[in-house]
């Protein structure tokens, strides 16, 4: 039990350290790119701020998923989503333009057929939860919560350190 505990400690610490280094690197990249386009962002400050915030958020999630690796279903789904983000985004926008009516009817059918339960809400929150049964969903949720908490503490400490 004790050896298991130390292994778990080292494992969590490894994830934490990997996430911290990756996130700092991507933060640096965000800053460099914003340095490069500093003149254009000064014109519309709000939009640039929002874009940069989104980039930092995406960088945080990507760093977390890469730190966990492809062992977990949620990290795999997150990495897939991030990798194909541009493509999916463009396709979905196009589809939205083309078949707005179809989508609306489909949504209505789903809403009529079944009221979303709590497990479905959880499925939406956990990445890649659509294709899980309840047991796997709960297990992945546990790991996802752990990683999210780690992410929040690391980001908090980085922010505190940078503010000082």
């Amino acid at each position: 039990m004790a050896s298991k505990h130390t292994i778990a400690t080292r494992h969590a610490q490894g994830i934490r350290a990997r996430f911290a280094s990756r996130f700092l690197r991507s933060l640096l990249r965000v800053r460099r790119s914003s340095n490069r386009f500093g003149g254009s962002q000064s014109n519309d400050e709000g939009i640039g701020k929002r874009i940069r915030t989104d980039r930092i958020k995406i960088a945080a999630y990507a760093a977390m998923a890469r730190a966990v690796g492809p062992r977990r279903t949620w990290s795999r789904a997150l990495l897939f989503k991030l990798r194909n983000r541009a493509r999916i985004h463009g396709v979905s926008r196009k589809r939205c333009l083309v078949s707005e009516k179809k989508r609306v009817t489909r949504n209505k059918v789903v809403a009529i057929s079944r009221e979303p339960s709590r497990a479905d809400t959880l499925r939406k929150l956990v990445p890649g939860g659509d294709s899980m049964d309840t047991c796997v969903l709960l297990e992945e949720t546990a790991h996802y919560i752990k990683c999210l908490a780690t992410q929040v503490t690391v980001m908090q400490s980085i922010a505190d350190r940078l503010l000082l």
């Binding site: 350290a17 709960l138 546990a142 992410q151 980001m155």
Partner: protein, 274 residues
């Protein structure tokens, strides 16, 4: 139950033709007359022989077809008399059929062996039951009790029970993980609590990224990249030592270095891992 045993063995030793008939009789049920004669002789020899023969026919038919069926039979009926009768019949047909003797022996031992025979018979069943097999042995007694009362021993019920147990176990794990969730009773409320916690964490990530963006852009104007660069470089050897060594030297190393916030993270990891 000893007198019939002795009687039958002595009778069969004395009369080999009737013994072979009694041995062959369970497998082809249609020809009744010769077995009738054997039965009648048993009845004449002992009044208890009729009951013994009836149990023997029942059990032999079950053994000839399937193990599952015999399990269901035995779970339906009361076990004590059944076990006794099977032992006596096994003694009767001691040298007749090796397979039958083995099956009756395993059946008369206990519930565990019965579970084993069930597992071997259900090896070609669905994968759901195979997954439920891992958690079957600890709650074998529970299943046994349920089978006596309401006969819920089919594979679907077993798999469903194992699944529910697994889900409740995961829910307990999650309850330990989410703060303030231990007092909540009821699965739905626990799930609500978990959902709220995940949403709050995601909101925190959003808020922190906003904060980091502000800090980042402010440092962007005031200082240059060198403000963050040494820390970034300092993070990489920290990662390497964290991979190679145990946690304790890592902490000392970070304490030695000037990157204080990384030390805070390591301390936080120690607290969180508990």
């Amino acid at each position: 139950m000893d007198p019939p045993l002795i009687n039958e063995t002595s009778f069969s030793a004395a009369n080999p033709s009737s013994y072979t008939l009694a041995e062959i009789w369970p497998f082809p049920p249609p020809p009744p007359p010769p077995t009738r004669s054997g039965l009648r002789m048993d009845n004449l020899a002992d009044p208890d022989g009729s009951l013994e023969e009836s149990t023997l026919t029942d059990q032999s038919s079950g053994n000839g077809t399937r193990i599952r069926k015999t399990r269901d039979f035995s779970s339906e009926k009361d076990d004590s008399t059944k076990i006794v009768s099977t032992t006596t019949s096994a003694n009767d047909l001691n040298d007749s059929n090796g397979k039958r003797r083995k099956i009756t022996g395993s059946r008369s031992v206990n519930d565990d062996s019965r579970a084993e025979t069930e597992a071997s018979s259900a090896a070609n069943n669905k994968s759901a039951e195979q997954s439920s097999k891992a958690s079957e042995p600890p709650k074998q007694d529970y299943i046994h009790v349920k089978a006596r009362r309401g006969q819920a021993t089919d594979s679907h019920s077993l798999a469903e029970r194992a699944r529910r147990e697994k889900i409740s176990e995961r829910m307990n794990m999650l309850q330990d993980l989410v703060p303030g969730c231990n007092k909540v009773i009821g699965k739905a409320l626990v799930l609500d609590e978990i959902i709220n916690y995940i949403q709050s964490l995601q909101c925190q990530v959003e808020f922190l990224s906003m904060k980091l963006e502000a800090v980042n852009s402010r440092m962007n104007t005031s200082t240059t990249i060198e403000g963050l660069h040494p820390k970034d470089l300092g993070a990489q050897p920290f990662v390497a030592t964290g991979m190679i060594f145990s946690p304790q030297p890592t902490r000392e190393y970070v304490q030695g270095s000037q990157s204080e916030w990384l030390h805070m993270q390591v301390g936080g990891s120690f607290e969180r891992a508990l």
